[in-house]
Symmetry: C2
Subunit: 241 residues, 2 copies
DNA sequence: ACCTGAACACCGTTCAAGT
DNA sequence: ACCTGAACACCGTTCAAGT
């Protein structure tokens, strides 16, 4: 299997006649545009092809499948994430900054979050983000094995939050019918939910910030992954999952 | 908008002639069966209808859309999660137990995890899980506002892990081409990734256990969400996300 | 009211035929 | 080699017509 992120060389047209000579890069570009403009629905092979004034079959010269295109689009979308270094902020603030940028990019483009959850992100931009997070955790004194797992935990959390938000946004009502259901929950049947119904639905940016705080705090304090199992429930260790 | 989880009453056939008289419940049941057997692809309205020996159009008498069916299937799948109380284990062990059961159920049925991430879970089974988590956190002395946000964090994490695993499983190779790419990563371009390439790919149950530990540890220690912002980066508070 | 076949407007992918 | 139209095997949803 080829590296899907390696540029695929294509014989260039002799004089370079038209505006978009139909290259892999052009395909990914308009796909991301369509995704940003019309959401996940808008990025079909046929629509991308139509935007490039061709048939869908033509795209298969540059892309093996929709899945590959999605991976390419996903990584291209991640180019917008700011991974810049800052001398003024400590590692923790920089980490929060980076992850907030990641979140902002995922939320801004509807469907990108779902893509990020579905495809294993291994393009250069995704790798750049992972690299930077590892750097920052290292700066924070987090041991390497812990850091490796922590990257996943952090990025997974942000992607999941973003995906959830973009689902919620699709709902027409503020917070969707979920809110109404939670409000209608029987006080005697679900007393805890009823008591916390207010807090369950409040959210926004503070909530994300708190979540990142929880993760970072936990990463710094939870027993690191060593050769021995950390703290699995004693009676049910290694039960097949 | 009706509560989609309220049972929809249907005129019963006079004598009750056939095996499955085509009820909302029967539809959800075979849909879940198909999902479990054939994955997300297998649960289309047309396939569900075919399994019930009807046309797809017939299902619209019981279900408003594929999206509603997905929500119903999702909640029905969650019925398998064990929310039983235990006198022998402390709240924390019980919480890990419950979330492990949740994870097991999501991973066992391919596609259920993706469903759980896509639909806002508000069926009785989902509510039961949330209720139980809130109970356990309360037992652990976690303040209500914190607990409300923590439920989301915990369930989101488990669902995301499950979704990621079921994506990985789809890949043919052990760990998929992602592993090969990470192994092939240039040592000078991504030094941190290269150094941690081993740990980045190791995983399994211990990793999940560690993740839950991180979350719980963090939840116990991170500043609780109060009326004032907790610890957002001072220079970029409330920037629109 | 429930149920249905047919139709509508889409999909991703393949393939023989063009250049 | 790139590009294409047409076809294949699917989708979710609607709708007029049945009972």
């Amino acid at each position: 299997m080829r590296d899907p992120f390696a540029p695929r060389e294509v014989k260039s047209r002799r004089g370079g006649p038209a505006k978009e000579p139909l290259s892999r890069d052009a395909i990914v570009k308009v796909a991301l545009t369509l995704l940003t403009r019309d959401g996940p629905q808008g990025m079909s092979l046929r629509r991308v092809a139509a935007a490039l004034k061709t048939g869908a079959a033509s795209l298969y010269a540059y892309v093996d499948s929709l899945e590959e295109l999605e991976a390419l689009v996903c990584d291209r979308g991640l180019a917008a994430v700011k991974t810049t270094r800052s001398a003024k902020l400590d590692w923790r603030a920089q980490l929060v900054e980076l992850l907030s940028s990641y979140l902002r990019v995922l939320v801004r483009t509807p469907g990108l979050a779902q893509l990020a959850m579905r495809t294993i992100a291994v393009g250069p931009n995704a790798l750049g983000i992972v690299e930077r997070v590892l750097e920052l955790l290292d700066e924070g004194g987090v041991e390497r094995g812990t850091a490796a797992w922590a990257v996943d935990l952090l990025t997974l959390y942000v992607a999941a939050i973003a995906a959830e938000q973009s689902v919620r946004k699709k709902q027409s009502d503020p917070l969707g019918p979920a809110a109404r259901l939670i409000n209608a929950v029987a006080a005697d049947q679900y007393p805890m939910i009823f008591a916390a119904r207010e807090e369950l639905m409040s959210g926004g940016f503070r909530r994300v910030a708190w979540g990142l705080d929880v993760l970072i705090e936990g990463i710094l304090r939870a027993p690191p992954p060593g050769p021995r199992a950390a703290r699995a429930p004693a009676n049910k260790r290694h039960k097949h999952i």
